[in-house]
Symmetry: C2
DNA sequence: CGATGCCAGCTTGCATGGAAGCTGGCGCGC
DNA sequence: GCGCGCCAGCTTCCATGCAAGCTGGCATCG
């Protein structure tokens, strides 16, 4: 989760430049709402806070804009993007499609790989069950995130990983907000186990269907929740 | 296809800045291989060619890097990314997943919408059939592109549109290269018609399945072709 | 009192300069 | 002949300056 590096291809790890520092700092600030959605800051101000000049902040802002986290308004500053329920609908539709595909591919891997991945996924799922028993929601959320991250990563598609990372970043705040409102944590655990079973059985079609269904159900639980709460932007 | 604007959200159309000019020029140069894959240019050189200073070129390069079209090598210049067969495999897997989802959603729209979209898709498909009869491959390719573009756009998911745009840009050169080698143009037309039929019948599951199958077949026709030709990067 | 025009201040867009890092080739030592 | 180190040149990184654009408030006019 906490992969420090810049958005480089993946090989050459370098000492991060100021641009990378600015990128990481701004992204972190957005993630834990130090920069609240709707907040508008000047590049100068952020540069001052980070102890650098405007240039690296500006370039980091371009990258963040490309990922949909901020908008750079010409001559007005950097606007932290808010997420509306409609955005969550879009995000879930993408997740539903990609994660189904990822699960299918994982279930088509050779026996040894599937066993290893199944074990990792099962470990994360057990961590979820334990966290739930303890009533530890943050731990539940982290284990859930690791489960899905593992599923995507093991499908071995760099573009898919990147896309999922991007939209996961976009929806992170919304997920944190709604975590404590969700009533169906046990359903998630059960569904995860079904996904794992399909992978272990080398059943690509089944894995695809289970992963899809899991995300569809989560979407159908979450969206009405957002609407009911009238969270227009978060 | 030729949406002129910058990567703005979608509303405020502005007079393009120099950065936007540089972005558009470089993207166009990459599309029609004026910048061949593997080519490495200095920002200074490109800036000179475009009649501007290094700054806007640099910022445009950051955006292009974020989209996977180039890599900015620290202190070495801008490298035009090549596409390997493995990349095409990744790209197709994403397309397979997203386009199936898009077709499903379109097939779930109200009757009036479906009729309108079905007509548009049918028109593009007829254009393909006619181009094929004339032996006009470029026209076939453009009509095919319009069909898929329409399908995605009408699903009404901005993030999905953007993702597809990005990976379509990445694979554009490969598509152009292989267009004349493909033997199964008529299969595409037939499959398009099946997708349209499912949409008109308000059959989301069928539309999903047909769209998936269409892309899976295309992938399975294309990838061996690339391997056989030994096109390691294009 | 309301509307309009203007201006000051703040913000970024873009250019440019200084400095540091990387590459490749040349010369020296062995 | 071979390998190593060094240096020159090229390239980006980052800071900063200048100018233009936008906003909001104030004064002025109807």
């Amino acid at each position: 989760m906490a992969r420090a590096g810049p958005a480089r291809g993946g090989d050459g790890e370098k000492r991060p430049s100021l641009v990378d520092d600015a990128y990481a700092a701004m992204k972190r600030a957005i993630r834990n709402s130090d920069f609240a959605p709707g907040y508008q800051a000047s590049e100068q101000e952020i540069a001052l806070r980070l102890g650098m000049s405007r240039t690296p902040v500006h370039e980091a802002a371009i990258r963040l804009q490309e990922e949909g986290l901020v908008r750079v308004l010409p001559r007005r500053g950097i606007l932290i993007c808010a997420i509306a329920p409609e955005d969550m609908r879009e995000i879930y539709d993408v997740i539903i499609a990609l994660e189904g595909q990822a699960a299918e591919r994982v279930a088509g891997l050779p026996e040894a790989e599937r066993a290893r991945i199944g074990a990792a996924l099962a470990a994360h799922t057990e961590a979820m069950a334990e966290a739930q028993a303890r009533g530890d929601l943050p731990a539940w959320g982290e284990a859930d995130e690791r489960f899905h991250q593992t599923l995507i990563e093991q499908a071995g598609n760099g573009r898919m990983i990147r896309i999922m990372q991007t939209i996961t970043d976009q929806s992170h705040r919304a997920r944190m907000l709604t975590l404590r409102l969700r009533q169906e944590l046990d359903a998630s655990v059960a569904e995860h186990r079904r996904i794992i079973a399909a992978i272990r059985d080398a059943d690509p079609a089944g894995a695809h269907r289970q992963a899809r269904q899991h995300r569809i159900r989560a979407r159908d639980a979450l969206l009405p929740l957002l609407e009911r709460l009238g969270l227009r932007h978060l």
